[in-house]
Symmetry: C2
Subunit: 346 residues, 2 copies
């Protein structure tokens, strides 16, 4: 069975390839009748234009790339598939492709971006979890490849992004905890090269200040976004002479680790020590105890992000596409009113 291409349809219909192509693409200079005829025959033979050829001819890649964050070791990566799903949804309406690309290591991340933007295989890029000063962003701008970042870097004035105001969220969370009577609030942050880590730390400190609390560096640590790393950090902090009665964590995954650390210190999280995470991960419902968290509205963010990117590809000004959402505190069972430590009793 022969490949059905433009040529096939053309001979089948007894007209020229060019006409078939224009008919299919709804050019105005094709009569309604032949247009119909062409489309009918095309449908009959289940014709699908060879995308590669079309791309070469038109020069538009009809594809968007998602740059996978490099360290996907952690538990918290449901967000990747969520995002992908949303992006794919948005893309499929146009019939565009979604490419998932990975940098083998953090070193080669910039390289990957460079290649991506010069090889012409995509017409746009979405990256997530930017660093404070992110070379990827610089490269994308330099090569003027349309892109959108999920999150923000320090200098976020001149590109498109979609982010959640985690600074505000953490400020509020501190307020919440302070309202519960907590004075010693610990903080488990993420590595500070990530801008989101900085922003959450900032929120934490601002919250402290607003509530007349002192920033105590012995109560905070910055570690990888894994349960184990944060458990270790929390254990250490718990051994301080004046340990915290509550923890704020940069991610839910970390918060879960902290929960474990508290339990293994013989204390009861949610009662002896409060902990609040960030992300709103679903499985926080099932931790012990269920995790109170700052939930980002990430349900359909993939779609929105991609729609924004598409708008930019269509000629929109990136600066017009900057969305800041806000997180909401979802209280489960891991936070509670301050109560004096058991150890003080003995």
């Amino acid at each position: 069975m022969r490949r059905v291409g433009l040529k096939f349809l053309a001979t089948e219909l007894g007209i020229s390839e060019g006409t078939v192509s224009r008919a299919l693409n709804d050019y105005p200079d094709i009569s309604q009748s032949t247009r119909d005829r062409v489309k009918e025959v095309a449908a009959k033979f289940n014709y699908k234009a060879n995308q590669t050829a079309r791309r070469l001819a038109t020069g538009v890649a009809e594809a968007v790339a998602y740059l996978m964050p490099p360290n996907t070791k952690s538990i918290s990566e449901p967000f990747v598939s969520q995002l992908l799903e949303g992006i794919g949804e948005s893309l499929s309406q146009r019939g565009w492709d979604l490419l998932v690309v990975q940098a083998s290591s953090e070193k080669t991340e910039a390289d990957t971006v460079e290649k991506l933007s010069t090889s012409g295989r995509v017409s746009g890029v979405v990256i997530s979890r930017p660093y404070k000063n992110d070379r990827r962003i610089e490269l994308l701008k330099k090569n003027n490849m349309p892109f959108i970042v999920h999150g923000r870097s320090v200098d976020s004035d001149d590109y498109a992004w979609f982010d959640v105001d985690s600074t505000q969220a953490f400020k509020d969370a501190v307020g919440h905890l302070a309202g519960l009577g907590h004075q010693q609030i610990g903080f488990i942050g993420a590595p500070l090269e990530y801008n989101f880590a900085q922003m959450r730390l900032d929120g934490y400190r601002q919250g402290l200040m607003e509530n007349g609390l002192q920033y105590d560096p012995t109560l905070v640590d910055h570690v990888d976004m894994t349960d184990d790393a944060s458990a270790a950090a929390a254990s250490a902090i718990l051994k301080a002479q004046n340990p915290p009665t509550a923890f704020l964590c940069a991610t839910d995954t970390q918060a879960i680790g902290v929960l474990a650390a508290i339990r293994s210190a013989g204390l009861i999280p949610g009662q002896d020590i409060s902990v609040i995470g960030y992300d709103g991960l679903d499985f926080g419902k099932h931790t012990n105890p269920p995790l109170t968290t700052l939930a980002q509205p990430q349900s359909h963010s993939g779609r929105e992000i991609c729609d924004m990117l598409l708008a930019i590809i269509d000629g929109g000004n990136p600066v017009d596409y900057q969305e800041l959402r806000s997180a909401t505190l979802v209280r489960r069972m891991s936070d509670g009113p301050f109560r004096p430590m058991k150890t003080i009793i003995s």
Copy 2:
């Protein structure tokens, strides 16, 4: 700044385009000296062949598609990003692309596959979570598009797949539970149109038989792979006149729901009632109590799967690429010896 293409390099070097191309692609009929010269200049100008053009010319797509499973609502989807990561890793060694495609609904899944295999944009496909009789597989075969399935359908003789022997795993798990003294073992399965659901059910029933236990349909249910659905199912089963003292679940996500159901029935999972899940999800460590599970060796399966697919694309016989791995029981805290039900005491 002009695009650096073959033409540019050719004029730059004073030789023909064809020669440049062949030099770059290590054709044997190019002298070492010009080959070097060409490569040097290419590197200097940071030349990257336009992939689209190359694909058109060679006819090979240099890309592989991953077909996203349609209902990614559930918690258990870290496996998607894990898989993707592995696949991407394997692909990037060849410089190939990873396409992620989604069917908007289950109805259009076959359509999507059809288009994918005729549009020529990919040279291979990986699909996961096959149905018992999976139309996607039929279509892929019909269009002889190389593919590999993560899992197996009923008729798995003539294609490539990578699966874990969950039948065996569930048989063993029943044995484990029986050894612990449990006689009434409930089962929360997944929708039976999925072949893995059937296989796990089979394992469960075989295990029952091997241990001289009766299959009791009032103790089993098949529900969606979400925590809520399985919690509801477990609650119902718990109300039976002769409720189970242990549950086996087709997925960890379901097991977590069962944990919740047990607790909300006022019982203690792991003590009053055992529950064992399947998947080996990391966050099972943090449930209440930590979830005992049948862990699949999914760490690098993405890589292996993709390597297998690549081998097939290179001309390998699909039948030679069928891998069956085995799961291992990782005991955490949600299983324990049989103990008479509290309710019996009263």
